[in-house]
Amino acid sequence: MLGSRFKLTLEIAKVHLLSKPKQTIIAMLGVTFGIAMFIALVGLMTGLNDFTEEITMTSSPDIHIYKDVTSPRKTILQQTNPGSLSWVHHQKPKNELTKVRNAYRIMELIRKNEMVRGVAPALSSQVFYNYGPAQLNGSILGVDILEEDKLFGLKSKMKEGRIEELLATREGIIMGQGLAKKLDVKKGNRIVITTPEGHTMTLKIVGIFQMGIGVVDNVRCYANIGTVQTILQQDPSYVTDINIKLNDRHLAKKYAAELEAKYNTKAEDWETANATFLTGVIIRNIITYAVSVTLLIVAGFGIYNILNMTIYNKMKDIAILKAMGFAGGDVRSIFMIQSLIIGLIGAVAGLAIGYILSVLISKAPFNGGDIISLDHFPVNFDPKFYMIGVVFGVITTAVAGYMPSRKASGIDPIEILRGQ
């Protein structure tokens, strides 16, 4: 019973739409354009976000433990006069080593936690790379290369050489591609480095890596941790950083706070370390949604206008339908169905066009320059956004169609049918 009644309203709605094809198509195009832009924009924006997140996340630890020499400490005045009100301006850090105390013991304990996917020690130092008479500023990172690979997938980042060669060559280094280019060196070349303390050492390049981020590739070298300890003339327990990767990186913030309290050292989680990057992601998302919603609202106004016009032209039809026994709700559904059909077909067409646009964008060549290694735009084809697109489109048209439809349902037939 209900089904066939719906069929009649659907039939009338269909006839209305087909009798003014141009108008119907224009209304649909509004929605199509909005959704297509949404899909293309969201695909590009989230694609870029995911890409940068991917490279930032793979190259940075979830939690980074280090000794923060700039962290506030009690002044001598406070120590000698506890409880007194005192204020010391411009307190300088103490001259102390940036060493993490008991690093290997801490790592052992952390490794036992089941949230942890991997822990690796690192020893980082500023160095100068001697290039003829010039000196290039950079950093050297002493690592356990196999542990480092487990955390950051170094193997896949190697452009030349293999990471195992570092194990075989005590005085070897793996150099960032950008740095190698600047120094004009290749695998197998030797290079002289100088530490800030003035020690120099000659190292052999056993490999070249590329992380894809300029700030890493242009300055960093990996070496065995023992080598760096030797360069810095420190003992074998000297470790400046502990890097941790978790199974679920969203637990990092909580776990970092725990570690900080437990080991009395600085533990920084990835969210804090990459705050600017995350802000960028949020802003890009806001822009994407704002633009898409604006486009859809414009499309909504288009539908609102066209339905209003249709209803104005169909006053007589509405009046006679009501006289013949169509209830207000029936009339409302006739026009709601029209706007939903416009919305649905427009949205589906929008998805198709959005998909085509996304494919075209993903094929467009794009030079990321030195900052990120990118030759094509990364585009996200997540079906989730296509779902959001349809739902968005249908909701917009439903809202836009509701007011004119309600107006149609409220038309008083007598005013129109009374001749004169």
């Binding site: 019973m1 066939s4 009644r5 009649l8 009338i12 006839v15 209305h16 087909l18 009798s19 007589k316 039809d317 009046a319 006679i320 339908l321 009501k322 006289a323 013949m324 026994g325 169509f326 209830a327 207000g328 709700g329 029936d330 037939p413 007598i414 049918l417 009374r418 001749g419």
Partner: protein
């Protein structure tokens, strides 16, 4: 047997100022009656018909059609009631221009949803035959002449076998040939099929040939 009865129906207009258009109208109409409602312009005859049609619910008094009391019923109930019990013919045909003649006639029956599509189509063709426009059944409704369109509108009013057909100036827009044709159809319907018809008209010639004339003046039935 009475098919429509009113008791003390009064109605006011509030714009531009309060004004009583209908004053204590008590009227009984019997089955098969061909009744014309006449009176000067502004006497309230159309207003009365729209109250009787159940479309206007803003009145005092009581209205009963086919034994059902309709005063105080909600709009949806009244819509369904109109669909089953009342057919309408207006001065203009009000056919839906995008639909064919046959579809126009079928719409009220499809709305009623009592019979299958085939049965409705058969019945609609029968009505079109009665009115002599069956050869135009599959044409778009706006391709017909004014007289033909009005006959299609009458066929549409008949499709659900209503208890009453209500007409507001049914011949007001027709030439004399078609006026006679429509009148004869009404006459035939009332006499052969015992169809009740109420027609508001200012055409005295048309009214004079109906079974019963109700004359109104200043919101009262005077005769």
């Amino acid at each position: 047997m009475e098919v429509l009865a009113t008791r003390n129906i009064s109605k006011y207009f509030y714009e531009p100022e309060k004004f009583q258009v209908l004053k204590d109208i008590t009227l009984t109409i019997n089955r098969g009656e061909f009744l014309s409602l006449v009176g000067k312009s502004g006497c309230g005859k159309s207003t009365l018909m729209y109250v009787l049609s159940t479309m206007d619910t803003d009145y005092e008094g009581e209205l009963e059609i086919a034994g059902q009391k309709l005063t105080g019923k909600n709009q949806d109930t009244l819509s369904a009631f109109r669909n089953e019990h009342i057919g309408f013919v207006f001065q203009f045909h009000y056919l839906l221009p995008e639909f064919t003649v046959l579809q126009n006639v079928m719409i009220p029956a499809m709305k009623r949803n009592q019979f299958s599509h085939e049965e409705i189509e058969y019945k609609a063709m029968e009505r079109l035959k009665t009115l002599g426009v069956e050869q135009h059944a599959h044409k778009p409704s706006n391709k017909l002449s004014g007289g033909q369109q009005q006959r299609v509108a009458i066929a549409r009013a008949l499709i659900n076998d209503p208890d009453i057909i209500m007409c507001d100036e049914p011949t007001g827009n027709l030439d004399s040939y078609n006026t006679h044709l429509v009148f004869d159809i009404f006459k035939q319907l009332t006499h052969e099929y015992k169809q009740t018809i109420i027609a508001v008209t200012h055409d005295d010639e048309f009214a004079s040939k109906t079974d019963r004339i109700v004359q109104m003046s200043d919101g009262r039935i005077v005769q």
